[in-house]
Symmetry: D4
Subunit: 172 residues, 8 copies
């Protein structure tokens, strides 16, 4: 990546990468430069804190943090930065991401984390773009276009369904 990254995608373990790459993919769709980091609130606490503290100074505008089980990463990052932090609860272990959701969304007053759905890495990326759109009118227009394309796809699926009927549609 040559361009200055605007979004940081950070995750607690490389096992989160197959989920979190959806965030990277959507940022690429919008042409947003980003970086991807593996760190851990519990295993590399000082490195994580240092990273969070320096992020704004390095030009990062939004941080997306994904983690599973007792997912403290997003909250710990948020504690060290004035940037908006988006949290992605990741489904893993016996509680299927409910532990992760509660650990991320139920932040105490003063330190918000913008939480998306369990395994919602793609939405985290779109939300990051919407946030960057506050500064960048072109980007906001792109979002409008992106939503129209998404809408169009559903409309086309419905047209296909109306033409073929549901039985043939299900056959593919």
């Amino acid at each position: 990546m040559v361009k200055q990254p605007l979004v940081s995608i950070i995750m607690g373990s490389d096992s989160d990468l197959p989920t979190m790459k959806e965030c990277a993919l959507v940022l690429e769709e919008f042409g947003i430069p980003y970086e991807v980091i593996i760190s851990s609130a519990h295993r590399v606490p000082e490195g994580t804190a240092a990273y969070a503290k320096e992020a704004a100074g390095r030009g990062i505008q939004v941080i997306v943090a994904g983690a599973g089980v007792a997912a403290h990463l997003a909250g710990v990052i948020a504690a060290h930065t004035p940037l908006p932090v988006i949290g992605v609860p990741i489904q893993s272990g016996a509680l299927k991401g409910l532990d992760s959701l509660y650990s991320i969304v139920q932040m105490p007053a003063g330190i918000p984390v913008a939480t998306v759905a369990i395994d919602g890495a793609r939405n985290a990326g779109i939300l990051a773009v919407q946030i960057l759109g506050v500064k960048d009118p072109e980007l906001r227009e792109k979002i409008t276009g992106f939503k129209e394309k998404m809408s169009q796809k559903v409309v086309e699926k419905n047209q296909k369904l109306q033409e073929k009927g549901w039985r043939k549609y299900l056959e593919g």
Copy 2:
């Protein structure tokens, strides 16, 4: 309010106002102009859609939507705008806000809602400020100051605790 509002605080019912006012208060702390709206995804669906569609054009940068039970408001707003939408699940009824949390945070791919804690209206406001900080460096500095003050308060409470001991501290 004379200044052009940058943040819209919308809620599904006036019974949500005692919770959502915390969002307004924190925006005032940061000097962010805002507007407060009662609408309803279910009772005023067209008005809500129209409001969401026009918000960006009117200069709104972030929308904060609070609702209880099957809380569709934030998702419905998000469907009609390219702006970042923050959702506040509100505790009400038998399920104590868990229904509202699930209805807001578990948005399908394509339409994110930045969800905060149940009754987390104050954090919704801070998150809105952090998002505006992407565009406004002065605001970002204010956030850093805000966090330092918050930190200082905890440090002072701890000092008082060390001086008095916990028994006297509890007496007040």
Copy 3:
């Protein structure tokens, strides 16, 4: 379909079709004309609203809406129509349909959605028939016959079990 559809089966995504087709199948058993639509409360909000508003005028009597995760479709439809709306929570994602159930059943006062079990598309179809039976005495008699047949099937299974014993029954 040549006949005027009486029931609309609408779903948020074509991935819901393998579940929702059970509704279509049971309507066919009763000879009820229906239509099947893919739309989305979040991706095609205006199309969905327009569809809901026009449904009654087009002769639709009951709308069955199926969706997963933060399932707003049934509620949004219900907001735009005086018709009875049946909601089918669809199992998908980490929360296995509990998010969808809460999003559909916990509707605020004024806008009911008649909710059936998670993945209960077949029951949604039967419920639609029961509702149409309010107007059509022949249909109500058919329901009574349908229930008798269902009852008979259980009785026959039990007879087979009594004759063969459970060990042989389990062998098939």
Copy 4:
């Protein structure tokens, strides 16, 4: 009540009456004749079965059944009638109505119960009216009017909020 009741409101205990009366009140708003019954799937099983079996013959068109805890009433009623049955889970005991919701909504294939929110008796009544509207065009128009009035109320609250500001609005 002189007129032939069209809706039956049945509940498992007289302790459910303060909740279920909301259903009666909304039926009165629409001018729908109804009857109110206390029975119990467990304490009066034969009386309940007999009542359910005879309801359709007596001209009842919709049955609304409310019960708490292991709420079998709606399901048992549905087993004995071809009429649409609306179930109202009632909040009571340690599980706060979640037990009741699961007992009512998770009906097996073949015997649907149209479930509304926990303590959602008012919505049960509106749903009953919507179902009766399938037969009665005038009633359907009344529903449209009812929804407009509901919408108007929200709009008026919002106007008042805009005029007074939220601080004065909260003062009352």
Copy 5:
């Protein structure tokens, strides 16, 4: 079976048989004559009621009822008999038996169901034997022997573990 059955094993569907057969197997271990019945509280409500009402007169002493989802079978049986009724929640559908557990265990005052674990058919059988042991001292002694054998098995496994070490034990 020639002998008069003392225990009735009843289930809502033949899909429950692979789980419920564990109850039959343990009754055979204790030499208790039993019968196995498929019925359904919702699909064969009158047959189920009749069966429950006649059970005591036919010499049945304990009824074991297994069902999934909104599991009303045990409660409906209990409503029609003075016999002790044991309920087995069966894991099925999206809620994995939690719906069934709540529907069975949370019975209102007056009509108890002796509930065992989700899929706990074997324990239902042992509990039935313990109940019959109230009348039959020989049976109670058999239970004591059964528990000793169960205890012995654990002790032997532990001895094998001590001799082999856990690595070899895991190899088999």
Copy 6:
């Protein structure tokens, strides 16, 4: 109590007594001699084990064990006796009895506990009577009478409701 107790009511703490007394009251209604014991699986483990082991020899026929939070009492008792053990989960602490329900009902294969509803002490008593009825035909007849009386009460309430209408009924 002069008569040999047939039922033992044991609880983990005297704070459970206001709930568990309902069990005693219903046993008195049926004329069943009982004893009430405070013990604790965790605080008096040996006394509890000794009590459980000796109960059968002392003529006890059924043990009812009530406890809150991580409620091990019923399971520990069941481990030491061939008698049927009824468990009453008691609502206390943050999880409102759900912890207690899971700790009691989810017993592993081999050691059943007949679980009733959270705070279902009255039903535990009725279940104990039903179990004693296996041995005592007179008692079984009493149960039938008890159920008829219960049924009659509901019927009378309904008659009163029909006579007065629900508005006056609610006034008392």
Copy 7:
């Protein structure tokens, strides 16, 4: 406190003190010197990290950390110290401590937190004493004595119950 503290009781907010003081009280019962600290993983992240890193060097042997909602404090402390860390989930907000329990107990591999019950500050103190008992045989004997006294209290309550009967016992 003159003596070198062996146990640190740290909490996220002074609103946790009424719960956490139970930990202090039980440590005093055992004569264990302790210190009480208010800090916050999110509001004072660096101070909290510094405190955790220095605790072992200052002679602290066990850290007890109590926090509510998305309770990251115990995990963050554990990330910075080789000492055993005991976590106390504190009941607060809409989810009643379940969020806090999941955030504390579901720690990823490598960084354990010894979790006690929601609001279980007293048990956290006893556990700290048991851990110190590993080094201090006298303390272990005290624990044995403490458990005997606890046992004795239950036995005495039971004796009182046997003498008075439950009716008089309940009167006080």
Copy 8:
């Protein structure tokens, strides 16, 4: 094992061994002698009690107890020993370990169990080492080294990610 074991790993069934062996493996990493025991609170209650009572006298310093479903083992062990007891909830059955977590962590006041995550046997082992570190300064240093190695591993993974980019990293 020649050396006196310091940690006892006890589990309710040999089906828990594939999970609990992670505890043994981490103890071996630290050179801590241990023993592995299969016992059962319900099937071998007296053997389990005797084992727990004798453990401290035999030189055991920490007991790790793993069990599934209504997991009483850790609590029952804790009732009989002054040693610190670590509980490992094991995922099994319909409730996926949530029953086990509640049964272990929600211990009543007086008898703590140091609970780790569902299936968290490795963390149970690390916690046992941390507890032994209270007595053994060398061990505490080893823990610090262990944490550094763990940290280093994450750092290396991140370096590899930065060098290869996420696409190649995912390819392996």
